[in-house]
Symmetry: C2
């Protein structure tokens, strides 16, 4: 979706919004860390995130890669920067094509800084010399496909900042005239350069409007996080700094924490003034850090950690293509959403209301995908995994213990979960889960029953306000053949329990009727059909089981030597145990754990 | 669906079942009455209904017409009789083609009685001489498409009944051998000739099994309803009558009511004995009458008038084609289901879980369809309508009064309802409806809110047991432009109310977002996706409005002279009033009538 459409929706509803900017890290581990941070920050619902273009082209591949993951794995509306620096037109075109392929529909068109080691921008052969050319090119070659943002300079472009006040005035208005040309060439909205004098932004917007620029102008906010960085950045951008800010910074420059706290306070005050003055939202230059940006947004009231909005129980990919229709997923992947998204990336059709007949059966295989080695993909992660799962597994009890500790919140990682920590909603059933694990049913997924919680409930809510959400109690676990037998015997008399059990060899035992699909999360909203975003279905369970069993070996087993007893123990579990999915269909009065005998 | 598959489902679940047989009436009015009766009787869930073939071909067109309506308007699994009497093979084939086209998948293959005026059956040129030929022909030409039933004669075929006991024994076993041939040729199940000695059926089944006939054998039950008819029928069929029956009949032959009561008692006793002896179900020869058959089924416990099963809130057409998938309909037609079925008969696709994208927009027009003249299609109906709606309409109050009396149960017919009486579920909101009508909002459709009633609830329940059903409160009415203005002003402040208002000219006023569809009835069942069988959607509302406005003139207006004040009053309403559909989305705590100000 185009960002301008999202902005206009917000404006129509009178809602303020926010967005984040990131830059491509230099190392692979840096990228992994950024994506995890992004994951957390995206939960708060930014209108979009943007990622800068590697100046000089050195990190341009990384930018493309991160942008793709932001859009399709983190699932946030993504804008990619594109600059003219060192970019012949063929290279620009190839980047635009790749961006389109990734489902990204937004570009921030910039001239870009001079490449490293040069003082002044120089046009490469066959390239463009300014953002205006880039905007024109994108509109000419790609029509209306892309939403285009451009930069605005409340204090004029640094290159045009001079000491002579008269000349400066001319340059300032030239800058605005140039901005107008970019809008007229097809840009949709403006993001400003960083500034610290709020009045500059207010005056700039006023001046833009006076020449007929009507596009939204988002103030770019760079929180002060360190004295050195602040000095460098304001020097480089020739940013005016109010006297109370520079005075205070000098006072506290030795105290890192005081600088950070001041940065948060200043950013909060600025954002409040900006929003009061009519800014439609704020764009946070995060410098890839979480704390200051989030603290400012919380201080302004744009986010509320106690009430994170969830449009759906799982994170929806903001693609403009087929995936925009996606409204239903199997519950099996709820702790491994990125695996699900990857495996279904090639689907031509997504169910948009019920799993039913729209289900596309072709899941991509995941054998050699990095998600299969999430906890062992580098030394640091291996170390964390070893700490959580044990340097060796002397017995089955040691394995059981890992699951018990995970449920208790003591072990932070588990092969079957992409994210650390259990979902907050497992709180009410934590005790039951611990008991179940202690009894030898090693849980990897669960949800409690919910009978009509308000859709804005802090724990269970999702979707628009004014609705009611429901869940059937669910638990999924591995267990030995013996445990399975006693369980099935127990369940044979239970009313309203449906189960699926499968082993690595593919033997299936179930009491679900053939071809049926069970909705386990649904929501009823004003003026809408019933949404049923997570389901249990036997067909996708058989796909999931390969992945679920595989993780015993590819993730956990990979920690230990080939022929070690620990590895052999996990191999035995893999070869002989069962994966069991159980739903208590009575979401009104049922007690799943009682039915399971714990 | 094939009846044998439905029978096998019942057998697998250990459930007993019942079915009805009807014959084609001679007059058009008779057909209309039969279909209305069938409508009521079908509500109890017979496994199938069958309709006899006009012997001699005189009423064969009527049979085809009724069979089509049984299947597609009354919505009951239909079996059509087909006999060899006077039927050259081309005529048989053309009948089979027409039956297929109507979505009927079941044929009872019979030789048939001799044509009127003849004593013995004679094969027509190019025709078949026996049911066996017919079964073979159907299987040869239509493969597995049709389910085929055949007749069984517990006392042997009347033609082969002779006095000589030795010869009779031979004839009896010949009959069974012939039945076996019919089964081997492809018949699926057997319906027996009427009988009054239960032991005959039991012995007959035993003898059939002894020669390897394994097909289900349904006992055919003909309740005694009148002395004369009983004597004629048992004479014609050479049916053995137990002494206690003939004795009792002689005693009470002058007393019609006593005969009927005895027939019910006898039928009930027989059915109980048959089911106890292992009969899978009972097939009622209704003679097109309702009371005796229903009383027997109730006496046996096969039906319970206090708990009529509803697989869906509306009646599902048991077709084997596209329509089998149909699970969702707009609420607008809930009082005119036959109109809906007719208008969507040509749809290639039906939504099977949500209205969403599966909605086919092409509704057939209904301008000159008989359903448009339901209450004025013959003199008797015109008379009833005039009694309900007034011989003249002196003022708007007279019109209002009709609606008020309809809600109170005093007027039995309304142009916008195919069935008489309000749905039982409107009981709880009757008072509110009366007040709303008195206030000038003339209601034509409504339902109360339901927050999770058990799916077997006598009033609101539908679908399988063990589920919960929900409804959003709904009301639909006509009102004057003034009333609309004050209503919309009132609703502008109301939370959770969505409405659609349209006039005959097509002006639309609504607060529903474009492209949205509102599910107003849904059900949550074990092991299933959420069912949402009725919806409010703006697109079909615009189709419905033509029908709804049209009824003011085609049905009601047609009662009065062209230029009469009554006719003019209805014309003014038609031309200037609005049709309004209102949903209270808060099915948990909402009060729709309070929101509407009554």
């Amino acid at each position: 979706m185009k960002i301008i459409d999202k902005i206009n929706e917000k404006l129509a509803k009178g809602e303020r919004f926010f967005s984040y900017e990131f830059f491509p890290p230099r190392t692979e581990e840096g990228v992994e860390n950024l994506l995890e941070r992004l994951d957390r920050m995206a939960a708060y619902g930014p209108t979009f995130c943007d990622i800068t273009w590697g100046a000089g082209g050195t990190t341009s591949d990384v930018t493309l890669d991160i942008a793709t993951k932001m859009q399709n794995s983190v699932c946030v509306e993504t804008m990619m920067h594109l600059t003219c620096t060192n970019m012949p037109v063929e290279q620009l075109e190839s980047a635009l094509k790749e961006v389109r392929k990734a489902g990204i529909q937004n570009i921030l068109a910039l001239r870009g800084d001079p490449p490293k080691g040069q003082d002044h921008f120089e046009t490469v052969e066959g390239g463009f010399s300014c953002a205006l050319d880039l905007v024109r090119y994108i509109r000419k070659e790609h029509g209306d496909f892309f939403g285009i943002g451009v930069a605005g300079y409340p204090e004029a472009h640094p290159d045009s900042i001079v000491d002579d006040p008269e000349q400066m005035k001319v340059n300032y208005w030239d800058n605005i005239a140039y901005l107008k040309k970019k809008i007229e060439a097809g840009a949709d909205f403006v993001v400003t350069q960083l500034f610290y004098e709020v009045e500059r932004y207010i005056q700039f917007v006023k001046d833009c409007r006076s020449v007929g620029i009507t596009a939204p102008i988002l103030p770019g906010i760079m929180p002060i996080m360190a004295y050195g960085g602040f000095k460098r950045m304001t020097g480089f951008c020739k940013t005016a700094v109010p006297k109370f800010v520079s005075d205070r910074m000098e006072e506290i420059k030795e105290d890192e924490e005081a600088v950070k706290a001041f940065g948060i306070q200043l950013g909060t005050d600025m954002c409040k003034q900006l929003l009061d003055a009519g800014a439609p939202g704020v764009h946070m230059y995060t410098l890839n850090l979480e704390r200051s940006a989030m603290a400012i947004l919380e201080g302004v009231g744009l986010i509320d950690p106690a009430n994170v909005p969830r449009p759906l129980p799982w994170r929806h990919i903001p693609s403009s293509g087929q995936r925009a229709e996606e409204r239903v997923r199997p519950i099996f992947w709820s702790n491994r959403p990125k695996s699900y998204v990857t495996r279904t990336a090639k689907w031509q059709e997504f169910p948009n209301g019920r799993w039913g007949n729209s289900r596309s059966p072709a899941y991509a295989t995941l054998s050699e995908h990095p998600f299969m080695r999430r906890h062992t993909s580098n030394d640091k992660r291996r170390e964390r995994a070893r700490a959580a799962w044990g340097a060796a597994l002397p017995s089955l009890e040691a394995v059981t213990d890992v699951f018990v500790r995970y449920c208790q919140g003591d072990a932070k990682v588990l092969p079957w979960a992409e994210m650390e920590d259990l979902h907050p909603e497992t709180g009410p059933i934590k005790e039951g889960l611990v008991a179940l694990n202690q009894a030898g049913y090693l849980t990897i997924n669960s949800q409690p029953r919910v009978n009509g919680a308000p859709s804005n409930d802090a724990t269970f809510g999702w979707g628009r306000k004014g609705g009611y959400v429901y869940q059937k109690a669910y638990v999924e676990f591995f267990c030995s053949p013996d445990k399975l037998e006693s369980l099935l015997q127990r369940l044979s008399g239970a009313e309203g329990i449906t189960y699926l059990a499968v082993n690595a060899a593919g033997e299936l035992r179930t009491n679900m009727a053939k071809g049926t699909v069970n909705a386990v999360t649904w929501g009823v909203f004003p003026g809408s059909e019933v949404e049923q975003p997570t389901v249990v279905d036997p067909v996708s369970f058989e796909v999931w089981k390969d992945e679920a069993f595989g993780l015993w070996l590819s993730e956990w087993g990979a920690l230990y030597e080939e022929a070690s007893p620990s590895r052999q123990l996990l191999q035995t579990i893999h070869d002989t145990w069962w994966l069991v999915s159980v739903v208590d269909n009575d979401y009104v009065t049922g007690d799943l754990f009682k039915a399971l005998g714990v």
